[in-house]
Symmetry: C2
Subunit: 208 residues, 2 copies
């Protein structure tokens, strides 16, 4: 293994430990020492990879958004069907994963938004930029689904994307608190199998 790829592995290992700790105890509740202990690295190694704890948190947000983006893209490339069916299928996989994790994690953006939005403009900008990127993808999915005739066209795609995102975030918070993926399943059923459907496409509506 080249030093570069080993460095990359170590970096990702630290990011993974940080994600878990921030999800469990919040950003402020996680001390640098806990991150070092969990990752099994000395302080100097941490600062070799990350400028500060603040930068580290933003790196985690960006790292996990990039992973999720790659995953969606490769899924969409590999699977047939109209866009709406593809989205429903990916969301079912994601929900099944949360089942295994006993629904403890939730969305990093939702978890950190409440805690960190007032902490610094640096955090706010990072969370906002990350959210905007996801929103643009959902909006594009809605445009495609409207063109494919599955999603209603009387509501602009941006509005549909915002509604889906906000509802999903709220459902993620309830999932985390209730330790159940039921809120996520309800969101998919109510929005993607019902409210979002175009009147013409409503014969494909699943029973709720």
């Amino acid at each position: 293994m080249s030093p570069a790829s080993k460095g990359q592995q170590t970096r990702e290992h630290i990011l993974k430990q940080g994600l878990q700790l921030f999800n469990d105890k919040g950003y402020h509740g996680t001390g640098l020492k806990e991150i070092l202990d969990a990752a099994g690295i000395p302080k100097g190694s941490f600062y070799h990879y990350f400028e500060s704890k603040e930068h580290f948190a933003v790196e985690i947000i960006n790292h996990y958004r990039a992973i999720e983006f790659d995953r969606w893209e490769s899924y969409l490339a590999d699977h047939q069907g109209d866009r709406l069916s593809q989205i429903r299928d990916i969301l079912e996989i994601i929900i099944a994963e949360y089942e295994v994790q006993t629904a403890k994690i939730g969305c990093l953006i939702a978890n950190l938004s409440g805690e960190l939005a007032n902490s610094s403009p640096y955090f706010r900008k990072a969370i906002q930029a990350s959210t905007e990127q996801v929103l643009q993808c959902i909006e594009e999915d809605m445009v495609i689904s409207q063109q494919q005739g599955t999603v209603r066209t009387d509501i602009p795609p941006r509005e549909l994307a915002l509604l889906f995102w906000d509802t999903w975030q709220g459902a993620m918070l309830r999932m985390k608190v209730s330790r159940s993926t039921a809120p996520l399943k309800n969101t998919v059923t109510l929005l993607l199998d019902n409210l979002f459907l175009s009147p013409e496409g409503s014969d494909t509506r699943r029973d709720t």
Copy 2:
């Protein structure tokens, strides 16, 4: 002023300072000393009113839910109109208040859910109970609105309540991050002025 009411005032003063600090820095990010300094009280006084910092946080959640409940009840008692119009009017007042606060606060439940849900079962239960109480009120509002013919009846009132709550929580997080009340306004317009309306009542639909 009687000692009892003075005690009550002090208690509420400490709760208010705690709310502000938790919203700004998160639960874990707020030390007991900061609470004492902000409230201008000695440690003994804090423990006279609250068993622990954990209990204090749950007291804040319950206290502010009680205040919000009283406010909604007195508003509903004092104002005419069908329930859906009343809800829209109250939400407009709430949104206007967030404008003044530069949208920094957000929903305490949303802010703390992400940070604290994994911290202890005690927190989870308190947040869950609080959420359930609010949900039951919204559900009742939906039942009344369906009876009054303003809200669609093809979706059960519980589903409508969950959708509204989840979307509102997600919108509150975006408000906090974007420092704008636009997400809240969009939610009201899209749900209460559009998606929730019964087909018969849709002539009262506002332009979006």
